[in-house]
């Protein structure tokens, strides 16, 4: 691969200190961005082709351009709630390079015309919050945050807000409610946050990695950045690989390389003597793929064509020793626990999916249950305020479709056991 961008110098000692970060060229891109007009900066971001790294993959430049112009309070919220199972890239980025995020936030705020910024970090990341808090203090002292940053027109306050453990707060409107001090229930859209978000004001919400990429786009120029990766998915991406691989961890890749390279060459593949049964390409919310799909290029459009999604860029590998039922049950239990309960299809659908999966292991299921379960998933998708229910329905539906034989064998085996035991 070409030189790493986000992971350049990442393991440098004390990179979390402003002095070391600046010695490594930090905050230069911010100066360059502040000298640009807002329109020029947005144009640069659009030209880079950067797509959001949090899960939805929406073009970041275009999102920033949706905010209305004019002299009102506007907000930038950095989504650092990283709670998609399998994802741990933002944790490593924030912990090791907090100033990279602050620099990205200043640039993002300039692009959106925002004057208040918040980082919503999940409550479990206490160490990372402490590091970020110290870094924010350093940035204020250096004049990179606050009134009229470096003599420019931009004034920006930045507050670190810690969550308290709820997956749904990674959903952008749930996050906004949580940041306003409420239960993290998603809101009806439209109005979209760009028009009515935090405190009813125009709000831009970006993922940590998206914001941290912005300084590099400013530094390299949008055109040069767009040459990285493939058409439709430009740039590099930090991919979190976990599960049954020999070297789990974060790897920065150029988008568009074959998935096999990430799983085998970088993460070392499954333990010796085992084979890959299935893998989640983009966190536990993405429909699963099998060993036959390992040559799919790892980028937004190719994965969408393969019937799944890049999501947050988290690959979870499951080997052939693990029953698919266990994976399905873990997945469904997670979404049942995290469903906020506001919309019926999600609240009931996640609950009944778990109970039907449990019936299989109890020897009480029949193959018809699989059809019912599949139809439950179809009834969830698209029928809720947010996509939490869909996030369970898609992987569970794909597991039933791709591993139906195994489910049926499991049902038969447990039935026979139940009969034998009685």
């Amino acid at each position: 691969m070409t030189e790493p961008i986000l992971f350049k110098d990442i393991d440098e000692r004390n990179l979390h200190e402003i002095e070391v970060y600046e010695r490594r060229g930090g905050y230069k891109a911010m100066r360059k961005a502040l000298a640009m007009t807002q329109d020029a900066l947005v144009a640069e971001l659009e030209e880079s082709g950067l797509r959001g790294r949090g899960g939805a993959g929406f073009p970041a430049g275009r999102k920033a351009s949706f905010l209305p112009k004019g002299d009102m309070d506007k907000y930038l919220v950095c989504n650092a709630d990283e709670s998609e199972p399998g994802t741990f890239k933002d944790r490593e980025l924030m912990q090791k390079c907090p100033h990279g995020l602050i620099e990205g936030i200043v640039i993002g705020a300039h692009a959106a015309g925002a004057n208040h910024a918040f980082i919503y970090i999940r409550g479990e990341y206490e160490e990372q919050a402490r590091i970020l808090d110290a870094a924010i203090g350093e940035a204020y002292a250096a004049g990179y945050l606050g009134e009229r940053i470096l003599g420019s027109e931009l004034s920006l306050s930045l507050v670190l807000h810690r969550g308290a453990g709820a997956y749904i707060c990674g959903e952008e409107t749930g996050l906004l409610d949580s940041l306003e001090g409420k239960r993290g229930n998603p809101r009806l859209k439209p109005p979209f946050p760009a028009l009515q978000g935090l405190y009813q004001g125009p709000t831009l919400i970006n993922n940590v990695e998206t914001l941290m990429t912005m300084p590099h786009i400013v530094r390299m120029g949008g055109k040069r950045y767009a040459k990285l990766g493939v058409s439709g998915s430009s740039g590099t991406k930090v991919v979190s690989v976990s599960g049954h691989v020999q070297r789990p961890g974060n790897y920065e890749i150029e988008l568009g390389i074959p998935s096999r390279e990430i799983i085998y060459d970088l993460a070392g593949g499954p333990p010796r003597g085992r084979k890959i049964k299935l893998w989640f390409p983009g966190g536990s919310s993405s429909p699963v793929l099998t060993a036959a799909d390992l040559d799919v290029p790892y980028d937004f459009d190719s994965l969408a064509k393969a019937g799944t999604m890049l999501g947050s860029g988290a690959i979870i590998v499951v080997d052939d020793q693990t029953p698919v039922l266990d994976v399905a049950l873990k997945t469904a239990e997670f979404y049942r626990h995290e469903s906020c309960g506001k919309c019926t299809p999600c609240r009931e659908g996640t609950n009944w999916t778990v109970r039907m999966l449990e019936r299989i292991d109890a020897g009480e299921a029949t193959p018809m249950d699989l059809d019912i379960m599949a139809s439950v998933q179809e009834h969830i998708i698209g029928n809720c305020l947010c996509v939490l229910g869909d996030a369970m329905a898609m992987p569970i539906g794909s597991m039933i479709a791709k591993f139906r034989d195994e489910f049926e064998a499991h049902i038969r085996m447990r039935q026979l056991e139940a009969v034998g035991a009685s």
């Binding site: 393991d11 741990f88 306003e180 001090g181 070297r247 961890g249 873990k330 995290e338």
Partner: protein, 222 residues
């Protein structure tokens, strides 16, 4: 199990475990239906409620950070939990008093989030991640081991948690909000023993000390 029918739950915790009521619950009235005739609790009167000055100052400082004081709900509850050891009715009442909201509002918030302890918690809290990636690497077994090592004692609260965002060190635990992993054979018992001895648990497994996985790759593959 000791019984203490006259225990006043609105008083700050004096130390030691919270006694259970006769039903085995720690919350009096848990099995009584809500009294719909009664007025909901109002915003606590600051003149009548003694809030520890340190907690009051902390919550006031938090409120000042936001354009809207309600935004302080989560950090204020976290501060109250730190002061009281758990989100007790008293802790919620105090936070509500400083924030000028009803205790009912803060209770609704506290019950939504996993990190607020709604029952008395031990001196140490251990979260064991049992989500997909960790369970593929033996997290359920680890959780059972740690629970067994703690036993019936209340000094350590063990909870299984959803993905903690550290699948690279699976199976992992978060001990008093510090991440450790990957835990191998016997590490669960060792962790509990070290916590009880007052030592830092599993110091060599601390996440903060790790380099990126990419840095461990053979040169040719980078």
């Amino acid at each position: 199990m000791s019984e203490a029918p006259g225990f006043d739950y609105l008083q700050p915790r004096a130390g030691g475990p919270i006694p259970r009521t006769r039903d085995g619950s720690r919350t009096p009235g848990w099995d009584e239906p809500a009294d719909l005739e009664k007025d909901p609790a109002a915003v606590p009167d600051p003149a009548l409620l003694d809030v520890p000055p340190a907690l009051r100052a902390e919550i006031e400082e938090i409120m000042a950070r936001y354009p809207e004081r309600h935004s302080a709900a989560l950090p204020a509850l976290a501060a109250a939990q730190r002061h009281h050891g758990w989100c007790s009715p008293r802790a919620i009442l105090e936070a509500a008093c400083v924030m000028r909201v009803t205790p009912g509002y803060l209770t609704s918030v506290a019950t939504f989030y996993d990190m607020f302890e709604l029952e008395p918690a031990g001196e140490h809290t251990v979260y064991v991640c049992t989500n997909i990636s960790c369970s593929l690497r033996g997290a359920d077994r680890l959780h059972a081991q740690i629970e067994a090592a703690v036993g019936d004692a209340r000094d350590i609260t063990v909870r299984h948690f959803e993905c903690l965002g550290a699948c690279d060190i699976a199976p992992m635990v978060s001990v008093d909000q510090v991440y450790y992993g990957p835990l191998g054979k016997g590490d669960g018992e060792r962790l509990v023993a070290q916590l009880r001895a007052g030592e830092e648990p599993l110091p060599e497994l601390r996440l903060a000390l790790r380099k990126t996985a990419a840095s461990e790759l053979p040169e040719a593959k980078r």
